[in-house]
Symmetry: C2
C-alpha cells in the first residue's frame, strides 16, 4: 500500500479545506444572487466527446478509463482508443454543452449555469500545478445579446471584490476582430489559427519573438509590420476610444456591429458597476480554446502578477451535439490560483466563531460522560461548535494544539471536583 497520493495530485488538509469551503460558499452565494443556478455533470465523459477537437491542447492530457468486462479485449487492441471508452473531463465547458443539449427542454431560457467541481489533466507535474484541480464556471446559454457578457463581468468582479481583491482588470477582445486584424494585415485565412497561437505567446516571448514566429510561418515582412503596428493604434486609449480608433484603421475589414457591440459592453459595465475594476480593450488577447466565436475576456489581478480567470462567447459548441447552434457565453475563475493568492497573503476567514472543547478525564464514569455529552448538546443547540475529547497526558500541549485549531473555550470534566 502506498501512502502518498498518485503522482501530481494532492491531499487537502483541514485548514486549507476551511478556506476552500469559505471561498466556495462566497462564490456560490454571490453567483446565486445574480440568478445563476448550480448544476453538475459526472466526472467521466465518453471518449468521443473528450476528443472532439474542442479542447485544444487539453485533449492530449486526458486520463483515459479502460473498458470493462467483455468489451476490454487486450489481445486485439492496437491503439489506446481500442482500450478506453471514457475519460475524466478536462474542463467544465464541454460537459456543460452536452448537458444543455441533453436537457434543453427541462431548463429555463436563458439558462444561467453555475458549476463548481474538479477537472483532471495529465500535465507534467510542477510547483503549484496539479493534475486534479477545481474549476468554477458561470455560463449563460440562450442569451444572444451582450446582456450575457455584461452580467458575467459584473457577477465575477463582485465575487473578486468580496474576496478582497482591490485591483482587478479585465481585458477584452473579440475573436472576429482578431480575424479582421489579420485580414487587414494581409495574412491569408488558412494561417489565422497559427498566427493567433503565436500572438498568444506575446507575454512570454515579446513582440520581437512574435514577429519572428510570424515570419517563420511564411508571412511577408510587410504584413508582419502592418499587424504589429495595429497594436499601437489602440495603446494608451480607453475601451471605447481604442475601439473607434481600431475601427477607423481597419475600415471595412471590421464589421461595425462587432465594434458597436463591444463598445456597448464597455459603456454599460462602466456605468453600472458597483465596485472598482478596470476594463480595457486588448487587441493582442487570444485565449487558447478553439471554440470561441465572439468576445473574449481575461481577468487579471496585477498586484499579484497573475490571471485569475477568463472566458468568452462560444455560440457553436452546443450545435455540435444537436445540430442547432445556441448562443453561449461563459467565464471561468481560477479557483486554485485564487486560493493560493489568498493563502500567501494571510487571508483570514471573517467572523469565525470561537469553538469550545470539553476535555474528559481518562476513565471517567458513564454518569460523568453522560453529563458532559448533555452539556455539549446544549451548547450546540445554542449555536456553538463543540468538541468532546479525552484529556491527553500532556494537557498543556493538547490545549495549545486545540487553540491553533480555533478552540478558544475549554471545559474540563473530572470524576471528582478538583481541590
Amino acid at each position: 500500500m502506498i501512502k502518498t497520493p498518485v503522482n501530481g495530485m494532492r491531499d487537502i488538509l483541514p485548514k486549507e479545506m476551511e478556506l476552500r469551503n469559505y471561498v466556495l460558499k462566497l462564490i456560490r452565494d454571490t453567483y446565486r444572487s445574480f440568478g445563476f443556478t448550480e448544476m453538475e455533470t459526472p466526472a467521466v465523459e465518453s471518449i468521443e466527446n473528450l476528443t472532439g477537437k474542442q479542447g485544444g491542447e487539453n485533449e492530449k492530457l486526458i486520463f483515459k478509463i479502460m473498458k470493462r468486462g467483455e468489451k476490454l479485449r487486450i489481445e486485439d487492441a492496437k491503439t489506446e482508443n481500442n482500450l478506453a471508452d471514457s475519460g475524466l473531463r478536462y474542463d467544465l465547458t464541454v460537459p456543460l454543452s452536452r448537458y444543455f443539449a441533453n436537457h434543453e427542454a427541462e431548463l429555463p431560457k436563458p439558462f444561467k449555469a453555475l458549476q463548481i467541481g474538479p477537472v483532471w489533466r495529465a500535465d507534467r507535474p510542477q510547483k503549484g500545478r496539479f493534475r486534479q484541480f477545481y474549476q468554477c464556471d458561470i455560463d449563460i446559454l440562450g442569451e444572444s445579446t451582450n446582456l450575457a457578457e455584461i452580467e458575467l463581468i459584473l457577477a465575477t468582479t463582485t465575487v473578486l471584490s468580496l474576496l478582497g481583491f482591490k485591483k482587478v482588470d479585465i481585458r477584452i477582445n473579440d475573436r472576429r476582430l482578431l480575424k479582421a486584424m489579420a485580414a487587414y494585415s494581409g495574412v491569408s485565412e488558412d494561417l489565422y489559427d497559427e498566427v493567433f497561437i503565436a500572438l498568444d505567446k506575446l507575454d512570454k516571448i515579446g513582440e520581437e519573438g512574435v514577429a519572428k514566429e510570424l515570419l517563420s510561418l511564411g508571412i511577408p515582412e510587410e504584413s508582419v509590420g502592418k499587424y504589429l503596428d495595429l497594436f499601437r493604434v489602440t495603446s494608451g486609449k480607453t475601451g471605447t476610444e481604442a475601439l473607434s480608433a481600431l475601427q477607423e484603421t481597419l475600415g471595412d475589414k471590421a464589421d461595425p456591429e462587432i465594434v458597436r457591440n463591444l463598445s456597448e459592453i464597455f459603456d454599460v459595465v462602466n456605468a453600472s458597476k458597483t465596485n472598482e475594476f478596470d476594463l480595457t480593450f486588448d487587441p493582442t488577447l487570444v485565449r487558447g480554446m478553439g471554440y470561441y466565436t465572439g468576445p473574449i475576456f481575461e481577468i487579471g489581478v496585477p498586484e499579484f502578477g497573475s490571471s485569475v480567470g477568463g472566458g468568452g462567447r462560444y455560440d457553436e459548441m452546443v450545435g455540435r451535439f444537436i445540430g442547432k447552434n445556441t448562443p453561449a457565453c461563459g467565464f471561468s475563475i481560477g479557483f486554485e490560483r485564487i486560493l493560493v493568492i489568498l493563502s500567501e497573503n494571510g487571508f483570514t476567514i471573517p467572523g469565525e466563531q470561537t469553538k469550545t472543547a470539553i476535555l474528559l478525564e481518562k476513565g471517567l464514569s458513564a454518569e460523568k460522560r453522560i453529563e458532559a455529552l448533555k452539556e455539549a448538546a446544549e451548547l450546540r443547540k445554542a449555536g456553538k461548535n463543540v468538541l468532546v475529547v479525552q484529556m491527553a497526558k500532556n494537557k498543556k500541549f493538547q490545549k495549545e494544539q486545540l487553540q491553533e485549531a480555533g478552540y478558544g473555550e475549554f471545559r474540563e470534566v473530572y470524576e471528582r471536583a478538583l481541590q
Copy 2:
C-alpha cells in the same frame, strides 16, 4: 458527439442541485458542530491501494485509468494491470486511511474527519443505482475508547433528526461477538467468513435460506441449529438486556470486556441523546466490508423501509500503510438514498427567500439597461437574489416559468413608461 451521460452516470438538474446543496450544508454544519473537520483526497488512487483486499466485492467494480506516455505499452500488455496504474476510488475509507498515514504528524489527535464526495463503482446500472454517487463519511482516528462510537451515533442521529426523519433505528453488533457466536455453535474458524456472508443475506433469503447455505458449507446440522437458536436468546430484549442474555449463553466464548463495551455504548447514548431514535442489539448484523474489527452499526429509517447508512470500527486499516495500527471508527450515510427519500416525500427547503426577476423590454437603450442593472445591484446588496433577463415574447409564460423556479417578485423595465 454524444449528448447523454456515460452509461450508468447522470446529470444533476438545478432543482435537485438545490436540495443537494441544502442537505450538504446541513450535514456539514452539524458535523462541524461536533468538532469534525472536513478534508479531501483526490478522486484517483493508485491501483495498488484499490486492490489491497480491503474493499471486498467493490474491488471488482473499479474504473481503471490507463497509464500514459511511454509507460503505456499496449503491445506487451497481457493483463489489465499492465495497462492501468490507477483508478477511481470506490469508497472514502481506503483513501482516508492512506491520508491519515501520510499526514499523521500534521493532524490533530484524535482526528475527527468529515469527507463528502463522489465515489465510482462500475456496477450493473439499475433503477436508483448509479456508477457515480456521493458518500458522506465521518471517522474518528486515534480514539480507542467507545467515545468514538458514542459520538458517531449522536452526531449522525442529530443530522437525521434535523433532516426531519422522525423514526430512526440503529442496530449494533460487534465483529468479535459474531466470531464468538460462531465458535459457540461449533463452526470451524476457517469457515467464519463464509458463514458471515450467508448470515448477511438473512433479510433477503430468511432464516431457512441461511440454514440451507450453512448446511451446504458443510456445517453440521447441530451447529446450524445451535447458531440460529442464538438469535432467539436476544430477540425482544432491549440492548443491555439482550447483551447480558447473550453473554450468559455464550459463557467463556465471549470476552466480557467486549460485551461491557457495547453495553456502555447503549447506556451512554440512551442517557445523553437529545432526539428520538432506537438503539437495538442485532446479533445477525454483519456489514460487508472485510476491514471491521469491533462494533458495527447499521442505520435504518423503517418508515421508508430502508437503510440509510452504517459503519464500524476498523482498527487495522491504517496499519496496512504504516505498519502501526491506529484506532479508527467511522460512519457513512447514504447521501443519495436520503435525497431520494426526501424528494419522494415532497421535502421543501425551509426558509427559502423569494427571488426577484427584472424583465427588460427588447432593444432597451443602454441608459435604461444601466438603470436596471444598478437597481439589481442595490437589491443584491440588500440580500436579495435578482435575475436580470430579456422579456420574452410570451411574457405570461415566461413569468409562470420563473415562478416555478422560485421567483415571486417581478419588475418590468420599458424604454418609455407604460400608458
